[in-house]
């Protein structure tokens, strides 16, 4: 069967719903062909952001969905990755060596930080983790905007990527099938391939024996401990792995944007986006990250335009105009978040799978 290799590639964790499989296939194909189908700059930016978010959210799903612990520091590791590349490229010039050095340094920082946080908070109670990550992440965001000689402060860092990825580098004189084969094109596919590999690696992790133990801990940590699994160790490893994947997602974002600042990677708003995507997509499924990221990033980029229209239409009506203003986007996001945790806890993926089982 031709599905044999596909099943192996997906670690035998298939979508288990025909609709879901179809939607996922459409998303992957659309993302793979974006430079040819939608060659506009905005479309490419949106697609790249979706890809980066898929990795970031999938890494968070390992923690929230599979291990059942809440972290508010995912964006901190995301930011460490992005700052690693940004700082190294600014300091040591736009070469592959400095990119690699930046990635290495960022991974080490994330590893140490997540290990320390994990050992400290998970040793006592898993719910400490949520509070401590919140505290550390907010302290880190403050620090990043204050040490401006290194991080560029509030303005952030604009830097050059290696020449092979620069937009000015043309590989062919003529556009190929409507797409310019330039540095941006190469960057896009670099991000696409790396992101695909990372998501497949995460699928492998959650479907390994290690992943099964994580799920056992999520369902009943007391029982898992009684069977003989050291829950602290497993939870800590999960949080470290999740942090490393988030760091790599940050690296991808920095390479695409050629810029990094506190609002791009460290802000709490992004953490909220990640939480919302995981919940809407479906916790503990990895595939939920794909669906959720597409929905949210598209909504963010195109629905806010709609809110601008609505705000213009509602101008003069005192409270309503305030409520539909694009700046109040976060209000609706928050309400959507609470409603989905209540009424939609298994997310899109869970619903689609349940539909199939119901039949």
């Amino acid at each position: 069967m031709s599905t044999g290799w596909l099943s192996r590639l997906l670690s035998h964790d298939l979508p288990r719903s025909r609709v879901l499989a179809l939607v996922l296939a459409v998303i992957v194909i659309a993302l793979a062909l974006t430079p040819f189908i939608f060659p506009s700059t905005k479309a490419l930016n949106v697609a790249a952001k979706i890809i980066v978010f898929i990795v970031l959210v999938a890494s968070f799903d390992l923690l929230l969905g599979y291990t059942g612990i809440v972290s508010f520091a995912q964006t901190m590791f995301f930011g460490i990755g992005a700052y690693g590349v940004a700082i190294a490229s600014t300091r040591f010039g736009p070469t592959w060596t400095s990119v690699a050095g930046g990635i290495g340094a960022a991974l080490v920082v994330s590893l140490v930080l997540s290990l320390v946080i994990g050992l400290f908070s998970l040793r006592v109670r898993a719910i400490f983790f949520a509070m401590i990550t919140l505290a550390v992440a907010s302290a880190f965001a403050t620090l990043a905007s204050q040490i401006s000689d290194i991080t560029g402060g509030e303005d952030g860092l604009t830097f050059k990527v290696p020449p092979a990825l620069q937009p000015g580098t043309e590989y062919t004189a003529e556009p190929f099938l409507g797409a310019d084969i330039d540095g941006r094109f190469v960057t896009y596919y670099l991000i696409f391939v790396v992101a695909a590999l990372l998501v497949l690696a995460l699928l492998r992790i959650v479907n390994s024996p290690f992943g099964r133990v994580l799920q056992a801990i999520r369902e009943n940590d007391f029982r898992a401990e009684a069977i003989g699994y050291r829950t602290v160790v497993y939870r800590t490893i999960a949080s470290v792995a999740s942090a490393l994947f988030a760091t790599l997602a940050g690296v991808l974002l920095a390479l695409w944007l050629r810029y990094n600042g506190p609002d791009t990677t460290l802000s709490f708003e992004i953490m909220l986006d990640v939480l919302l995507i995981v919940v809407i997509g479906g916790m503990g499924t990895i595939y939920g990250a794909v669906i959720g990221s597409v929905l949210l990033v598209l909504a963010q980029n195109y629905l806010q335009e709609l809110m601008k229209f609505a705000a213009a239409a509602a101008e003069g009506i005192p409270v309503l105009a305030q409520l539909v203003a694009p700046e109040r986007w976060l209000l609706w996001l928050g309400i959507l978040f609470v409603l989905s945790v209540y009424y939609f806890p298994s997310g899109v993926v869970g619903r689609l799978r349940a539909m199939r089982r119901g039949r």
Partner: protein
């Protein structure tokens, strides 16, 4: 049959005798009292003393210490409700910041509404103004607490994961609604005329309002301690924190008690928020989220569910924040996290661990 009956009767009578003997013995000896753990309190004094050489000048040190104690008192008022809510029902409320923000913004509105009381030189009017601001904050935050408990906390009792997510969502919604009502820009406001300026002790300048805030904090602390230690309600709350099921099986409705504590905690957070805003001379919509971080550190340091621990933790955090804010402002936030780490290394359950947790 008969032998079995008599033997069981005799066992019962022996048991009864043993019980009487035990009661008699217990009556003879004084009830063993739990010894109060002084070490954490000594830690506060130790931190204050350690700050002295670091800060350098005695007068600055005194100013910072008073500011730190005032800040600690305000943090305690805010955090006490949160720690009790957790202790009583195992509910971790990430949305506590909403009540702080409500208190702070109502203080803004009260100050704006009674503008001539702010500029008035009369101390009495100034104090009444602050009292009104606190009252308004407490009432509205309390009402918000009722709504919050009913809509967001009650449906997810016993599910930590959902609790954290939902209450965090509540914080975001609350913050945004505040932006809708009061606008997204930071609002600065002035202290009442009579409370501006400083008292000077020798070289040291101590801001008047800081002293007042510390005083109000002390009053709230004493009130809280009186309720918790001298009333039946307080007895039930303390018993509930120790062992919820036992209190329930004795016939008390712990749910109702919990709602009461939740609302009272929200009202206290409202009072604290008003004081915090006045102390900082201004408010931003993010006030709730930023103070939230501090109070989490405080209740972890103190031991989740412990009121005394919360008090000591708040003082430690307040002092630490002021000393490092002066000595090394860039790492001020990390100093509190460092403090927490150090204390968790020493006592993993916090300064005053609540049994049964």
């Amino acid at each position: 049959m008969a032998t079995a009956g008599s033997s069981s009767a005799s066992t019962a009578s022996t048991a009864a005798t043993a019980a009487t003997a035990a009661t008699a013995a217990a009556a003879a000896e004084p009830v063993p009292e739990a010894r109060f753990d002084w070490i954490p309190l000594a830690l506060v004094a130790g931190l204050a003393l350690a700050g002295w050489p670091l800060v350098g000048s005695t007068s600055t040190w005194l100013t910072l210490t008073v500011a730190g104690l005032a800040m600690g008192m305000i943090i305690f008022i805010i955090a006490s409700g949160l720690t009790l809510v957790f202790g009583l029902m195992d509910v971790l409320n990430f949305g506590h910041g909403v009540f702080i923000a409500i208190g702070a913004y109502l203080a803004v509105s009260v100050f704006a509404g009674l503008g001539d009381w702010v500029t008035s030189e009369s101390v009495l009017r100034n104090l009444a103004l602050i009292g009104l601001a606190m009252l308004a904050g407490a009432v509205v935050a309390g009402i918000a607490g009722v709504v919050f408990e009913r809509l967001l906390v009650r449906p997810v009792y016993g599910q930590h994961l959902k609790q954290i997510l939902i209450t965090m969502g509540g914080l975001i919604i609350g913050e945004e609604l505040i932006k809708v009502v009061w606008g997204p820009a930071p609002i600065a406001f002035e202290l009442p005329a009579a409370l501006r300026g400083v008292f000077t002790f020798g070289d040291a300048a101590v801001e008047k309002f800081r002293l007042l805030a510390a005083g109000i904090g002390l009053v709230v602390l004493l009130g809280l301690l009186a309720v918790l230690n001298r009333t039946k309600l307080g007895l039930l709350i303390r018993a509930g924190v120790q062992d919820r099921e036992m209190v329930e099986s004795l016939g008390y409705r712990i749910r109702r008690l919990f709602v009461g504590v939740f609302v009272a905690g929200s009202a206290l957070a409202g009072i604290g928020g008003a004081l915090w805003a006045i102390n900082q001379h201004g408010v931003t919509p993010q006030i709730g989220a930023s103070v939230n971080v501090l109070i989490f550190i405080v209740i972890i340091i103190g031991g989740l569910g412990s009121t005394t621990g919360c008090f000591v933790g708040a003082l430690l955090v307040g002092l630490m924040a002021n000393y490092t804010g002066f000595v090394a402002p860039k790492v001020a936030m990390f100093s509190n996290i460092g403090l927490m780490v150090a204390i968790l290394l020493w006592r993993p359950q916090g300064l005053y661990p609540v049994s049964n947790r």
